[in-house]
């Protein structure tokens, strides 16, 4: 084998791939940042895509703050996970609104709750983005006081806070 020729060809093929990848990633609406956020101690993990739904201002990062909000009794906790996960265990008093069934369930939800109802969404913790997706959808539907509890059910359960 002619190694010099092979090296040249491989460099060319990889160069075209890398160049094309950067161009497509730059122009694609689904493009992502060159470095993502993959440290759960810093918050919910994300590739930092252009079409990201993450609004950090909505996040409740401290489980004790979430508990204070819960204890105030004013906020409705809304579970973004699947119905099965909800039935296996959820924050006591939380409503179930799986983000995958949002379209079919939102009508009833709107009938039951005023747009001013403070809402805290949650899912399975910092590797899960469903609570952010749900929060964004609820904001789109006119709910104006929405927060995201990013440690989700596992974080709540680990503290021994009320579940059912």
């Amino acid at each position: 084998m002619d190694y010099k020729k092979l090296t040249k060809e491989i460099t060319l093929l990889l160069g075209v791939s890398v160049g094309l990848a950067l161009i497509v990633n730059y122009f694609s609406p689904a493009g992502i940042a060159l470095i993502g956020q993959w440290d759960t101690s810093q918050g919910v993990i994300t590739a930092r895509a252009k079409n990201d739904v993450f609004i950090e201002a909505l996040e409740i990062e401290d489980v004790r703050i979430a508990k204070q909000v819960y204890d105030s009794g004013k906020a409705l906790f809304v579970d973004a996970r699947s119905r099965e996960d909800y039935e296996d265990g959820h924050i006591r008093g939380a409503a179930s609104l799986p983000v995958g069934q949002f379209d079919e369930l939102i009508g009833t939800f709107i009938d039951q709750h005023s747009p001013d109802q403070p809402i805290v969404t949650y899912c399975s913790g910092r590797t899960c983005e469903d609570s952010h997706n749900l929060a964004q959808l609820l904001l789109d539907f006119g709910f104006n006081n929405v927060k995201v509890f990013i440690d989700g059910f596992p974080g709540w359960e680990a503290e021994g806070y009320p579940i059912e």
Binding site: L6, E9, I10, L13, V16, S17, I35, G36, I45, A49
Partner: protein, 162 residues
């Protein structure tokens, strides 16, 4: 056995089929990843093997390396170099799958469709599949005859590239 291997290595139709199978497989595998790089990045994170700063770069570059090498194999541009890249990727996949199989780490394969996120694939069938692809790749790599269906002998291009 040696004779059988020599015959297989010299078979032009086998070389042609192997190139197309690998080419189509890798182009197909790149499609969903290119459409949803964020989902693919999350799957890479799930493997729990890569430094955080590299996860996005892998998610951005790997699908295009798969696409370009797959296309090169099918149309027959630099087939030996393209298959070297593909075999390199297959060896990396085999290594990653083996490490996670040995340490019992469950993850979403994300091999073909990132939409299956959350679906846990078993590592063994994927390993066997990748080993079969690797053997096909070796046939293409070691084949020394005239390859069928190559659009042009673009290897001359390297002459102009110096």
């Amino acid at each position: 056995m040696n004779n059988l291997m020599k015959t297989a290595l010299a078979n032009r139709w086998l070389e042609f089929a192997a190139r197309w199978i690998l080419g189509i497989t890798f182009i197909y595998a790149s499609y969903d990843k290119i459409l949803a790089p964020a989902d693919f990045a999350k799957i890479i994170y799930g493997y729990d093997l890569f430094p955080h700063d590299f996860i996005n770069l892998i998610a951005i570059f790997l699908p295009f390396i798969e696409l370009i090498s797959g296309l090169a194999l099918i149309v027959g541009i630099y087939p030996r170099s393209a298959v070297l890249i593909i075999n390199g990727m297959l060896l990396a996949f085999i290594l990653v799958l083996s490490i996670n199989l040995i340490r019992g780490h469950e993850f979403d394969c994300g091999c073909f469709s990132v939409k299956k996120a959350g679906y846990l694939s078993s590592a063994e069938p994927m390993l066997i599949r990748d080993i079969i692809y690797l053997i096909l790749g070796l046939q293409v790599l070691l084949f020394s005859g005239i390859r069928k269906g190559c659009i042009g002998r673009l290897s001359q291009l390297s002459f102009y590239l110096g």
